[in-house]
């Protein structure tokens, strides 16, 4: 495609294409992260959340972004090196988008300490970075790229499917996780409510898997795979992943610090509700 005579021209169009991709990623970053950018708990978390937890949160984002780039990046990628580069570009775009919006909202002001400002931005940059990466599926323009991403997602191995579930769970639960309502809802619920919610969540999750089976989305399992196998391999394992992610996010934000184990579990199941929808619908929303 890039013969020497066309080299200069294609270089130019590559740069232009990159600029377009970058603008699109910027839009995607804001599209996905605006609920969090407009959530006051997120602004406050930056100055009272544990530094180690914030560092870990940022660190864990990178492998997730790299994996996501493989399945669904905002650019077509061919090698691991490409995926790594895309991941850092997504983070940079997320960081820039968060900075801009937080300044516009007056959340960041000059009299704040550098620590507070960077904390506020880097916490938001995680969600915004995901948004930048997910742009490809949110604002699709190129049919070919979309087809490729679809093919990869559909042909994803079992491990790959679980990975997409992880990202889907994070994607949907992040936007509500930092709010006080998560813990408040769990305070309002009795253990009966909690058990019922867990049951409904599981059922809903199975419904998604079942529907996907009919549409032939899952290439991993045989079409005649039994109910039990499907339920165990996708629904139950998926729900376990969802609960782990919910717990991790609540722990990261410090929402469940100091609660008894049973109360922690309740809050985890509450956040598990949106997380499970995200995991189940991961191939629809990612």
């Amino acid at each position: 495609m890039s013969s020497p005579s066309k080299n200069v021209k294609s270089e130019k169009s590559d740069a232009r294409r990159f600029f377009v991709d970058l603008s699109r990623a910027f839009g995607g970053a804001i599209l996905f992260s605006f609920p969090l950018l407009m959530t006051m708990e997120m602004w406050r978390l930056a100055f009272y959340m544990d530094g180690l937890r914030l560092a870990l949160f940022t660190l864990l984002t990178i492998p997730l972004l790299i994996g996501l780039s493989y399945y669904d990046g905002f650019e077509q990628t061919n090698t691991v090196k490409d995926d790594v580069r895309e991941a850092f570009i997504a983070y940079a775009v997320g960081f820039a988008a968060s900075t801009l919006v937080l300044i516009l909202f007056g959340v960041i002001t000059p009299e704040m300490s550098a620590n507070e400002i960077i904390g506020k931005i880097s916490l938001q940059a995680v969600a915004a970075g995901f948004g930048a990466m997910l742009t490809q599926s949110l604002l699709v323009i190129d049919d070919e790229t979309e087809k490729n991403a679809e093919k990869r997602k559909r042909s994803a191995s079992y491990g790959g499917q679980l990975f997409l579930m992880v990202v889907g769970a994070m994607f949907l639960s992040l936007s509500v996780a930092p709010t006080e309502e998560m813990v408040l809802i769990s305070y309002q619920m009795t253990y009966w409510h909690t058990a019922a919610l867990a049951g409904v969540t599981l059922l809903m999750k199975y419904g998604f898997v079942y529907a996907a089976k009919f549409q032939g989305h899952h290439k991993v399992h045989a079409p005649d795979e039994s109910f039990l196998s499907l339920f165990l391999r996708f629904t139950v394992v998926g729900y376990a992943i969802v609960l782990l992610i919910s717990f991790y996010i609540l722990w990261t934000f410090g929402s469940i610090d100091g609660l008894s184990f049973a109360e922690k579990l309740k809050a985890t199941i509450v956040l598990g509700f949106p997380a499970a929808i995200g995991a189940a619908a991961s191939r629809l929303i990612l």
Partner: protein, 140 residues
């Protein structure tokens, strides 16, 4: 995560990609931001002891307001811990006698940061002895 070889090749044939320099620059910026924010938070987390908030309040200005006066002040927290619901009380004294008190609550006084606020008085703070202090906070 597993990668399908055939899928990769198929894609590679579709379009030979020249990576623009700008793309690398943005990626390196991203890398610096990741390393920078992680190391800053880690540094603060590991080096700072969790000492309680240290609150100092300075009066910035006293202005006439409707039905009285406004005392504008800034609250500086030099401690390592954030104070939530910081109660601030201003007292106007005439010698030993308390002439007037006003109070407000600051939602957050983050560690190593400054916040601003104001207290209203009916009597003129310029003619009396004005004292502003914080009376309590909660841990966020």
């Amino acid at each position: 995560m597993p990668k399908e070889k055939s899928d990769k090749q198929e894609q590679g044939a579709g379009r030979q990609k020249n990576v623009p320099v700008g793309e690398w620059i943005v990626a390196v910026v991203g890398l610096i931001l990741v390393i920078g924010s992680i190391s800053l938070t880690l540094y603060r987390a590991l080096t700072e002891e969790s000492t309680p908030p240290v609150i100092s309040i300075t009066v910035d200005s006293i202005l006439p307001a409707e039905n009285g006066f406004l005392v504008r002040f800034s609250v500086q927290n030099t401690g390592n811990q954030t104070a939530a619901d910081l109660n601030i009380e201003g007292v106007l004294k005439n010698g030993e006698e308390i002439a007037e008190t006003s109070a407000m609550t600051l939602t957050y006084a983050p560690a190593h940061s400054m916040r601003e606020g104001g207290l209203f008085f009916t009597k003129n703070p310029n003619e009396l002895d004005l004292q502003i202090r914080s009376t309590g906070y909660s841990v966020p």
